[in-house]
Symmetry: C2
Subunit: 389 residues, 2 copies
């Protein structure tokens, strides 16, 4: 997200900024990028060092009707404004969202706040499949309780115009609405890099080393278009999230300016809120851990968000994953109405430090009655996990 | 806190429980403890292994009037009930609290909720002196805004009866009230251990090794009466807090039963809430770090508790301490209206892992707009601290 206006870059920072100039090709031998401006003028720009920061594109399902007016994607600030304007201008009552990831879920909360009818649909049978089932179920309950229709396990076949509105025809289900929002994920926007012969990595993202250098030493890549090392596996992964994108941008600047900076990588720490539920994860799921050659054991605990005697408590669920072979902590997941968003950072730091579950279980975490039980839920989960490692 | 009743210990767990039997002496050569029961009967109990879990005692200032009715300490559940009953039974309007630690602060919040007039007084000039001054000032403002009179820098000389009430005569100040609460701290209750020749350690607490064994291999100590290793310094410290006490109790049980358990120690992680302010710390202050032979540098940052564009944000202050010689992270402090209590656990885990500030600055912490900026405040503070290390 560019939070500075173009003029600031131009006038205050002395950066020559070509907006409206989509790059169409990278000539690596001549060290030049070029294309045609939105006004139709061909342009070229030479480089000593090049940064590819092309981000990610929303995935659009290849179904009939995906181009109909009223079918909108969730990606840019402009997309958001367009959706907002349409809701304000027309008599919108019903919205269908394709997808149930956290962007889709955050969107459904915003739409329910406007009192719109919201239905979500996706082909896979499991809601938030990367979450342990009991945890995912808590989130699903919350979403349903807030009046959202959740239709998992229905492949979308086509979108059609019906009267003034649209209908989404799915396997075994047809949903009517005035707007259809597409939030089924993103893919790295690496076409330009790929076409120039820059090596691509996980999920088609641009492969970079710890200095964000691509296979071409004069070309760097950062942000949602680039891959990263996973601190748990040491192997490449593609987890497009804001902190890594931002951090990688800074690191490229340092490296280009001759100050060698290496980024250790990501732990895959993520959090979102949907209605009153906080959902967080870091590290690997048991399935991911198994694929990576670990021998995972998992333990879930349910406890209270506040101390026994403190009013206003709500359930909090913590699940930890450890490796039976080495005892290492591999991942964590949490769901609850409070105390989840920052609590995930304790296991995240432990993953960076390659701590064992036992070492993590011995950490001195904070306690006060309004904020948790004497034993932080992470510690209780670690103690339980130790018994099965 | 015993959350099980005596009958459960007796009937369900087969533990012979002598309540009302204060131990007066430990005979280490005969391996017997003894004393006189509250009913006046002498008793003795032999042991193979002994656990000293005598806790801590509130510090009572040696001033005239400290024994007057209406002067009450803040220690046991019974103390709390007594205070509550007195407020309910009599027409109490004003309370003076001696001390300004977090127990005193939590108490003043509870009393303000009952709409009582509250004044706090202490001899030292600085409010929360272990907190960096800008942070302490935020908390002091909050307490004052909530109608509490804060009198730091006034030595208490005596307490006197005046009419139906009391007056607390301080240097340069006299405060009237119906109740005086004493919350100026605790000391380890180690008299029994000391008298038996068991070695005492920091602040007069019972010295224990990582297995909670005292200088006598048949005697263990755990809880607020015992010391602990500090994970940052590797040296002994006395920080009486609930998690360590609880954890030490379990570890003694394991060790007594032949399952060798070593506790690495404490990081001094603590959190409390006073009114709408959360205050947390872990590790060393710059002053403590200097005393321990480190060469500390400190950096404080102020940022927002939520993302730029997210409504409901409030300021959050984070201060980190690092060692110039080794680059190690040594401590952290935070103050804010939200997002402090669990956020402190990330640096706490980093202290256990003996991370450098640089390593910590590279951790993958969670981000979502309702919960913080893209760069977690801990990371922003770490980045700033790196510049002065």
């Amino acid at each position: 997200m560019v939070v500075r206006r173009a003029e600031v870059f131009r006038d205050k920072q002395g950066i020559t900024l070509f907006t409206g100039h989509p790059v169409a090709h990278i000539d690596r031998s001549a060290k030049v990028v070029g294309g045609k401006s939105l006004e139709g003028k061909p342009f070229e720009a030479p480089y000593d060092k090049l940064l590819i920061a092309t981000g990610a594109n929303p995935v659009l399902p290849e179904i009939p009707g995906i181009d109909l007016p009223g079918v909108m994607r969730l990606k840019t600030l402009e997309d958001g404004r367009r959706i907002k304007a349409m809701i304000a201008a027309q008599k919108i009552e019903k919205v269908v969202i394709l997808g149930m990831g956290y962007i889709a879920l955050e969107m459904c909360e915003a739409l329910r706040a406007l009192d719109l009818e919201v239905a979500m649909v996706k082909p896979g049978p499991r809601f938030l499949p990367w979450l342990r089932e009991e945890l995912a179920e808590r989130v699903r309950e919350e979403v349903i309780t807030r009046g959202v229709a959740v239709h998992a396990g229905h492949r979308v076949e086509r979108i059609e115009t019906v009267g003034d509105g649209l209908q989404v025809v799915c396997e075994g289900l047809t949903l009517e609405s005035e707007i259809v929002l597409v939030g089924i994920g993103v893919t790295p926007n690496s076409d330009l890099a790929g076409a120039a012969g820059v090596a691509l990595g996980v999920s088609g993202s641009v492969a970079v080393d710890r200095r964000l250098q691509t296979s071409d030493p004069d070309i760097y890549a950062a942000g949602d278009c680039a891959d990263a090392y996973h601190v748990v596996t040491g192997r490449k992964t593609w987890i497009p999230l804001a902190l890594r994108a931002n951090r990688a941008g800074w690191a490229v600047a340092d490296n280009v300016c001759g100050q060698a900076v290496e980024l250790p990588g990501v732990a895959g720490t993520a959090v979102f809120r949907v209605f009153d539920m906080e959902v967080a994860r870091t590290g690997l799921t048991p399935q991911e851990a198994e694929k990576e050659g670990f021998e995972p054991a998992e333990k879930m605990i349910k406890t209270s968000s506040r101390a026994h005697a403190h009013p206003g408590s709500s359930p909090i669920y913590v699940s930890l994953v450890g490796d039976k072979k080495t005892g290492r902590l591999l991942g964590a997941q949490m769901v609850g109405r409070e105390g989840v968003a920052h609590r995930i950072n304790a296991p995240a730091v432990a993953l960076h430090a390659r701590m064992t579950v036992e070492d993590f279980s011995q950490t001195d975490l904070s306690y006060a009655p309004p904020f948790g039980p004497t034993w932080d839920p992470c510690l209780t989960a670690a103690n339980q996990l130790l018994k099965v490692l």
